[in-house]
Every structure is written in C-alpha cells, then in structure tokens.
Symmetry: C2
Subunit: 381 residues, 2 copies
C-alpha cells in the first residue's frame, strides 16, 4: 500500500451521522489503490486477510462458519437472509425497535415469509417475556433481531434473546441485523449461537459504503447450500465456494469484487484488530457515556427510555423545547459538523442523531462536537 504514506485528508465538514462515518487516512488511501486484477496475488492476499479477520471480528473460531463480502449495502443483507435461509410460507418473528426492523420485515414479506412483528415501545426494546410468549405460541423458522436500530439508537440484548431462543425454541434460526452494531457492540457469534449476521462497511467497520458483509453459521449454511435458489447475485450457493477459495489463498470468480473498497476493509480491520475487541467496545462505551452525560448536562434528553437500552455508537437526542431543529442542524453544519435528523416515523422533526463510531471516537471528534453543540444552543437561545 505504497500510495498511502503521504495521504492527508483535506479540511472538510466532519460527518458525524450514524453512518457513513469518518474514515481514517489509511482507509481512505486504500480506496485509491491502483488497479489490481481480482485474481492477482495482491488482491488474493488482501481478500484472504479480510475473510480471516472477519472471523475475529465476529469472535468466531468454528471453522464451519463463513464470512462473506459482497458489493452491496446493509439492505442487500436482508435479501440474502430472506432468499437463502427462508422458504415462502415460513413463519418469522421480527422484534421491532424502529424503522430498520420494520423495513427488514417488509423485505421478508416480499420473499413470502409469514411475518409476526412484535413492536417495542418507542425508545425501548421488546420485553423478553413478550419474546418468550410469541416463541411458545408458534414454531418460528427464524427470529430477527435488529441489534441497534439506527432510527431510535436502541440496542437490543442479543445475548439474552439468543439464550431465550435456545431454551424455548432451539430450532429457530437467529438472524441479527448488525449494520449499526458490528465493530462497536459486542457480538459473540459462536458463543451466543447466532445463525446469521448481516452488516455493512460504512458504520463501525469504518469503510466507505458499498459492501454487504455477512457471517453464517454451519446450520445456516446447511440450509442455504441445500435450498432451491430464488436469486442469483444474492445466492450463497454461488458465493460460498468463492469465499472459501479466497480465504484459502486462491482466486475465484462469480462476480467482480469491489477491489478498492475491500482493500480499504483490510486496512480498517487491521486497525480494529490492533487492540483487543473488548478494549474497542469499552472505548466506545466510554465516549458514548461522556457524550450522553454532556447532552443531559445541556438540558437535552436522549430518545431511548434508559441508558440500559441506549446504543454506544450513536445517540438519538430530542431537540430542546423552543429551538427550531433545522436551525440547530444548520448552526452545527456552519461549525463544521454534519449530524442526521430523526427518521422514526412517529418522531420525525423532533430529534437528531449523532454517530460516535470508529475513527471519530479515536480522533477526538466527539468532544469537539459537544463544544459546537453547546455553542449552537447558546446562540439559538
């Protein structure tokens, strides 16, 4: 990666939305890696490193699990789960903590799943006793958990839900939407008995958008590899031998991989794994807590009903009474920070969202933003 050494980012407004996040210099430099063939020794080494390191990111040691990196986005991961793990008519239990959980349910229905959605109170998780009641009522082929719903910043307790599933309905596949969680919230794939996680590059994984990243259990693979295909590009039957080949150090072809973005993923995974994962999670928790404390001190309230269900990679914060939300976002932009409006349909216009994941957490962007928020609020009063 000889092109990376002198790379410096020009001044720009800091992107503190809950994804895409800010990217480190080595990651951005890797994006401009000169052309390589998809079967060149250079790219094979890159993709091999990525696939091996994804095992570490998912804390998986079982060699029968499999990581996948496809050109796409988090959304494509829903199609991949639906088309590879489910058959039309299958019952699926969706735990909804916001907009993205509901959209996942929409996707599942398109593939013919019979979906039951249990919706949490806004800002809260689905209570475990409700999950237990639903699982006892019907034999579900799968349950979906949105680890962190980016619309509400609510984090679900995947470990506790998985434990419950194993007790009440062990045959139910556990599918986790980890788009806004992988790389910032703990997820122990093997230990918790997860079957499938879908995520994307542009959030806590710290790489520009364009990659759909997936992780499948032996049980999930067994289903996917023995199922009649209903899609082509999204078919794990097509991709499994390709990923196995690259991971073993040999090139293979089904569709051309996004060489530059995968090279950036290599750089990011190298950075992420340069410290113990648990230290990374603790760092995010610390910065998240400091930011939420500062926000409260400024008289603002977060959307989640309690800190216990508040994610660590972003904060959803209500606009204060008497302040025009759009004016606040404009002020913040003038001060050099892009944050996001709220998208939960019941609360649009009432809150904003600040991402604090990856590079920004390490580069000190969050205290700088907190200062800008304090100044902006003063100026608008």
């Amino acid at each position: 990666m000889s092109s990376t050494t002198s790379f410096v980012q020009p001044d720009h407004r800091l992107t503190l939305i809950p994804g895409p996040i800010e990217f480190s210099n080595p990651v951005l430099a890797a994006m401009s890696t000169p052309s390589q063939a998809h079967t060149s020794p250079e790219f094979i080494a890159t993709f091999q490193s990525v696939l091996k390191n994804l095992r570490k990111l998912f804390k998986s040691t079982n060699p029968k699990t499999q990581a996948y990196v496809l050109s796409g986005s988090g959304t494509l991961g829903w199609d991949i789960a639906a088309s590879n793990l489910l058959t039309a008519g299958d019952d699926v239990l969706v735990l909804s903590t916001g907009f993205f959980s509901d959209s996942f349910a929409d996707c599942l229905r398109i593939y013919g799943a019979e979906v039951d959605v249990v919706t949490a109170k806004v800002g809260d998780v689905v209570p475990l006793d409700q999950v237990k009641a639903k699982l006892s009522e019907k034999s579900y082929k799968a349950i979906t958990i949105t680890h962190v719903d980016t619309s509400t910043s609510v984090v679900s307790d995947v470990e506790a839900i998985s434990k419950l599933v194993k007790q009440v309905s062990p045959e139910t596949l556990i599918i986790v939407d980890g788009v806004c969680s992988i790389g910032v919230e703990d997820l122990e794939f093997d230990q918790w008995g997860i079957d499938f996680v879908l995520t994307a590059s542009q959030k806590a994984i710290g790489v520009p958008a364009g990659l759909s990243i997936l992780y499948a259990s032996e049980r999930a693979l067994d289903i996917a590899l023995n199922k009649k295909e209903t899609t082509y590009f999204a078919s794990l039957k097509r991709w499994t031998p390709v990923m196995q080949s690259y991971e073993s150090g040999k090139g293979a072809y089904f569709a051309t991989p996004a060489i530059q973005t995968i090279t950036a993923l290599r750089a990011s995974l190298d950075e992420i794994l340069s410290e113990p994962l648990d230290a990374r999670f603790a760092k995010h928790e610390q910065v998240s807590t400091e930011f939420k404390n500062a926000v409260n001190k400024l008289g603002l309230q977060i959307l989640p009903v309690s800190r216990d269900v508040a994610a660590h990679g972003l904060s959803a914060v209500y606009f204060p009474e008497g302040i025009d939300g759009n004016e606040l976002l404009k002020k913040l932009a003038q001060k050099g920070f892009t944050v996001a409006g709220g998208i939960h349909k019941q609360l649009v216009g009432k809150y904003f969202r600040v991402g604090h994941m990856g590079y920004s957490v390490y580069a000190g962007h969050i205290p700088a933003f907190t200062k800008a928020l304090e100044e902006s609020l003063k100026e608008l009063k």
Copy 2:
C-alpha cells in the same frame, strides 16, 4: 475534490485484463474523497451530475428514461432485469456469444423465465436469420443480447438485432448486457429502441468495481413500477423515486449509496464526456485495430472469426503453437503487465485476453504492452 491535486499512482503492474481496467489519477483520487453524508449538498451534487451524464453516455434524450446506480456488480444487473421486467413463466430468447450470455440465461431461469438460448458458433455472433426465425416462432416477452461477451471478445450488432425485433416482434423487450460495451462500443438507447441496459463500473466506464449501472426505457419502467415485487434491494420500484430525487437535486434514501465510488464515477464521466462520444469510440477502434494488426504480425490469431465481430475494448488471442500459455502470462507479468486467461469452457487454456479500454488507451499502455508481448514470445521461442 481538493484531495486530488497531488495524487500520483505508485509504480504498479498495469492491469490490462478486460476489467477491472486501469483507472486515471482523478478517478482514483476521487475514491479517497473524505466522508460525506449521503444527503449532504456535496454528494447530492455529485449524484445529480452522474445521473444526468449517464443520459449522455446512453445517448438518450427522452426524459422518461431513467438511469440507476446501485452498489453491486454487473451480475446484479441480471437479477434486476429478471426480477423487474419478467414474471415467472415468461418466454425469453437469449442470444449467446459466450460464457456471460449463458450465465445471464442461468440467472433468468432462477426467476422462473422459460429461456430459449440460440448459441452462436464459437467466436461468431448469432446470425440474424436465426434470430428472425426464433422471433417468428414464439411470442417472446424479452430478448437478451450480450453486446460484448467478455469470454470471447465477440461484439453483437445490437442496432441490427433491435431493428429486426422492431419489425418481427415489436412487443418483445430488448435487454442488453452492456457490461463490456458501454463507454467503448456505440449504443444509441433511444434511437435503437432499447428497453434495458445493465452495465458495471470497472470496464470502459473506468471506475473501480462496486457499481451496478442500469438504464431503463419508459416501457421497461412501466412494467417494473406496476409489477409485484419479488426482490427488495433489486427492486426498481424502490430505487426509481430515489434516482429521480437525486437527479432533481434532492437527497433521498432507500439504501446507503457508495459515495466514494459514485464520486469516482462522476470524475470518470466528466473525463469521458470531455470529448464527443463518437471520437472516443473511434479512438478505441483505432487502438484495437492497431493491436490486432500487431498481434497478427506476430503470427498470433484472434478468437473471433472475423474482425467484423471482434470487440474494440478487448482482444481474445490464441496462444501460439509450441508456447506454454502459462509461461507467456508469467513473462508478461514479469514485464509489468497483467492480462487474463481465457474462460470460454471449450477453449480454456488455449487463449488469453487483453483489455484495451479507457485510461490505458489514452495513456499509451497498449503499444507498451505490444512490445512486451513481442519480447516475451521471442524469449520463449
């Protein structure tokens, strides 16, 4: 794009495979654009420029056509065509000029299409009278044409085939796989009455892999927008309002776009459209002819049965008698050039493929490669 000014590519082996191709410095520099929100004014301006310029690339002036840019690859374009334009049971006529035409047929079958494949002689196109006979026999919902099949380097006459379809079976949708043609072979979307073209970023469009680029006619859109969805991420119903919104200068969301790669696409389209398209096509034809002449002069033969059916963006060349193909590819790599082996199943190991598209055509890489080829052949004799 203030990050681009000092960008210089380090020395590297030139990638002269038929995609991914070599990328220009402005394109690679745009890949490392610092983070922008997908709804930031900067990215909206970028995406708007891309969508407007794609109309020019497809020589379309009808405002009711629509361009799409999704995270994905050329292969995803097959799924998009199949799932948005066809219904299970539809009859489709596939004109096969190689591996990629056949793979497209595989994809269509997965979505339930009844596929008739007319296969050309290896290295040739499907004769027009055979196309006419098939179209007269059955009422096809769609015909697929692989404009350039990258496995054989054969270019089909999309204009003549389209004219025939309009005469014999005007209700048949004309679907073109333009992965290895758009940006190097002429395609007049409106004029020829094409309904759908799928292509990708990493060939003559000159941008790193990771984008599925599509262009739909009013008639195709009418079908796609009124059809029951069978996929979610690939659904043009979901993407059409998003593309219309960005093209009109407003942000929208369905799935996070690949901001950096789309910014690179903007840079590449700016370069491509800085000269008249027909001048670009003529330049490619000239370099292609010079290369094929040189190859013949060295005693080597191209795979297509005649120059009339040989594409201008790549050359498929038989290894000469008495020379080990792998040794030749190794020699070329030592001299700084990566070319591709052959992948047509009847001819694997018997030929190699050289891409001459985009940046390499303008940067003088092809004469340099020709020299290396000549030297390598001498050394191996």
